[in-house]
């Protein structure tokens, strides 16, 4: 008899209901952390460059396929691949911003939106052309392993993802608060002309920020792949969730993205539990629309 079955038998039915609620809550928090990591990249790019990166979802899909290929072709475990893919995606983001987005958009916001949309169309459909629309997953030995935390049984890869997200957010905060590059990023975000006058290479800082935002996606992809499936359209599902989180937390706010991610994860998990899967999705969109239409500065009122 499994540990789980014994645990369930030992509780009364009221306790059982509470347990299900509690485990949905915990699962929501765990999933929400990865959402937060995806949103973190988006909000950082928005906070500094003041652009909405429509290619964020497609880039995440690309990263997830990169993890898939690394595992299938080279036998690399996602938790090892993260150390190769993160710098690789930093370079990709840096190059995209510097070589494609900036020169193509002539500094016009509407153009930036269209160029990132173009990039997302290219990535998504190139993946479709190469991998077709089949859904794929990778098989790792720890994919279904669980941890016992109090009355709860939590998926080990999800707990790892949760802890790793907090660590990445902490590192990002340290980078922004303490390092010279971080100071330059914050200076450019606040006042780019002033920063340029102080000798900061604004184009370089923009590209670095875009690179960091893209690197966050590679980390998220490595954390997601042990438990998630990937197909060429998977990024769409994540990107609207990420937009919702960013809007909820306040555009450009890192703390807001973290809190927003956890809130959305819990909302999705609980509404999935009580209303079924497809309506749980609607819940996210409704939050998105209501916040955007009635409180565009976000719940925490951070200034964009």
């Amino acid at each position: 008899m499994g540990v789980r079955a014994r645990a369930i038998l030992s509780h009364g039915s009221m306790m059982l209901k509470f347990d299900i609620f509690l485990s949905a809550l915990a699962n929501g928090l765990l999933t929400g952390a990865v959402y937060a990591l995806i949103a973190l990249g988006l909000t950082l790019i928005y906070g500094v460059l003041h652009i909405i990166n429509f290619a964020h979802g497609a880039t995440l899909t690309l990263a997830m396929f990169a993890v898939f290929v690394a595992h299938q072709a080279f036998g690399l475990d996602p938790y090892i691949a993260v150390f190769i893919l993160t710098p690789l995606f930093f370079v990709l983001g840096y190059a995209l911003q510097r070589a494609v987005i900036t020169p193509a958009s002539h500094g016009d916001d509407g153009n930036i939106l269209l160029v990132t949309l173009g990039i997302s169309i290219i990535i998504e459909n190139a993946l479709l052309a190469i991998f077709r629309s089949d859904t794929r997953s990778i098989d790792v030995p720890y994919g279904f392993s669980v941890m016992e935390v109090g009355p709860l049984f939590l998926s080990t890869p999800k707990v790892i993802a949760f802890v790793a997200t907090l660590a990445v957010a902490g590192l990002l905060w340290l980078l922004l608060a303490r390092s010279d590059t971080g100071k330059a990023i914050r200076a450019v975000a606040k006042e780019k002309t002033g920063a340029a006058l102080c000798g900061i290479d604004v184009a370089h800082i923009y590209a670095v920020t875009f690179g960091i935002g893209t690197a966050c996606l590679a980390i998220a992809a490595c954390l997601l792949m042990p438990t998630f499936l990937v197909n060429p359209r998977v990024g769409n599902a994540f990107v609207l969730v990420a937009f919702t989180i960013v809007v909820l937390g306040g555009m450009g706010s890192i703390g807001g993205a973290l809190a927003g991610g956890l809130i959305i994860g819990v909302v999705e998990s609980l509404s999935g539990l009580y209303f079924g899967e497809s309506l749980g999705q609607i819940g996210i969109f409704l939050i998105f629309l209501v916040v955007l239409l009635f409180r565009p500065t976000g719940l925490f009122g951070a200034k964009a």
């Binding site: 652009i51 169309i121 459909n125 609207l240 809007v247 955007l292």
Partner: protein
């Protein structure tokens, strides 16, 4: 300006429409007519987008919301309420226009601009897609099948040319409408809002009313394209009617053809879908099998190239190199 046929700008519209009208006499193959009919549907959807985004500067990433309202409107009116499709057509167009008004009222009143407006329209289209996919009234994931009853009185034509000419008359009407709007007071207000909304407001332009009028018209026009789509294929589901593909094509055609111009959406749709067919055929020949998504890769590249090198689209490039095209400018 003398107000003659050509100086008024109506001449080129007449020439283009007549040239398109005689096309089926030269190309009568079914596949060609199917292709041309599809080009006109995309043109019509793109004309709706162009009015709002090209003239009004409000970039929507979710025109599928209106397209789907038209398609589902005309299909469900027939299947659920037994209405004649010719009667359902104006109702479905009105539904699309109303959707535009509501969506516009919500987002413009909240002062959403630029990327925020793009995001809201995208989210609305996704909400509609999920709802249409889940609700039993809309046929759920199985979609809606319009019963085959070929009869002109039933909006189903035995001769593919009839459908083509009908679609062309819609496109021609919107060409004239767009040209007329561009020269009207409303059009001037719309362009003023696009160029600088705060300045326009300071000069007494009621920006909210102008944008609402534009999105209502835009929603109605794109819904008409959805109606034609439903009647052409007699089948729709949530991904066809509310899917991102039509949002993307409605936006790409005017940008590639020439954003904020009368002929931009038409020129862009012809070029885009023509290039799409060529790409698909080429890769099928090259690799010995269909490659899904390859045409969209080309569209994406084209979008970035246009934004980078041809901000006024293909027509803008032509106008720069061929002096003869300059005359057509309103």
């Amino acid at each position: 300006m003398k107000g003659g046929l050509f100086t008024s700008g109506y001449g080129p519209i007449l020439i283009v429409v007549v040239a398109l009208a005689v096309l089926p006499f030269g190309f009568s193959a079914n596949t060609t007519l199917n292709f041309l009919g599809f080009v006109l549907i995309v043109t019509l959807a793109a004309q709706g987008w162009n009015l709002l985004a090209g003239y009004g500067g409000q970039f929507s990433f979710g025109h599928a919301a209106f397209f789907g309202m038209g398609a589902y409107g005309i299909a469900l009116a027939q299947v659920r309420f037994g209405l004649n499709p010719w009667l359902a057509l104006p109702l479905a167009i009105a539904l699309g226009a109303l959707t535009g008004t509501i969506l516009g009222y919500l987002s413009f009143r909240a002062r959403l601009r630029g990327s925020y407006f793009a995001l809201v329209t995208l989210a609305f289209a996704e909400v509609f897609r999920i709802l249409a996919n889940a609700s039993t009234f809309t046929g759920g994931a199985a979609g809606v099948l319009i019963p085959l009853r070929i009869d002109a009185a039933n909006f189903q034509f035995a001769d593919k040319r009839s459908f083509y000419w009908l679609a062309l008359s819609f496109v021609a009407f919107v060409l004239l409408l767009t040209h007329w709007i561009a020269r009207s007071r409303f059009g001037a207000y719309l362009v003023a809002v696009r160029e600088n909304e705060d300045a326009a407001r300071a000069l007494g332009v009621d920006a909210l009313a102008v944008k609402l009028k534009a999105i209502t018209l835009s929603g109605g026009i794109t819904a008409a394209a959805g109606c034609l789509y439903a009647q052409k294929f007699l089948y729709i589901d949530a991904n066809l009617a509310f899917g991102p593909w039509i949002s993307v094509e409605a936006l790409l055609a005017p940008i590639i053809g020439g954003i904020g111009t009368v002929f931009g959406p038409l020129a862009g749709a012809v070029l885009l879908l023509g290039l799409g067919e060529i790409t698909k055929t080429f890769f099928t020949w090259l690799l010995g099998g269909a490659v899904p998504g390859i045409d969209l890769v080309v569209f994406g590249v084209l979008l970035i190239l246009c934004v980078a090198f041809a901000p006024r689209g293909v027509l803008g490039v032509l106008r720069r190199i061929l002096p003869a095209f300059r005359g057509g400018r309103a």
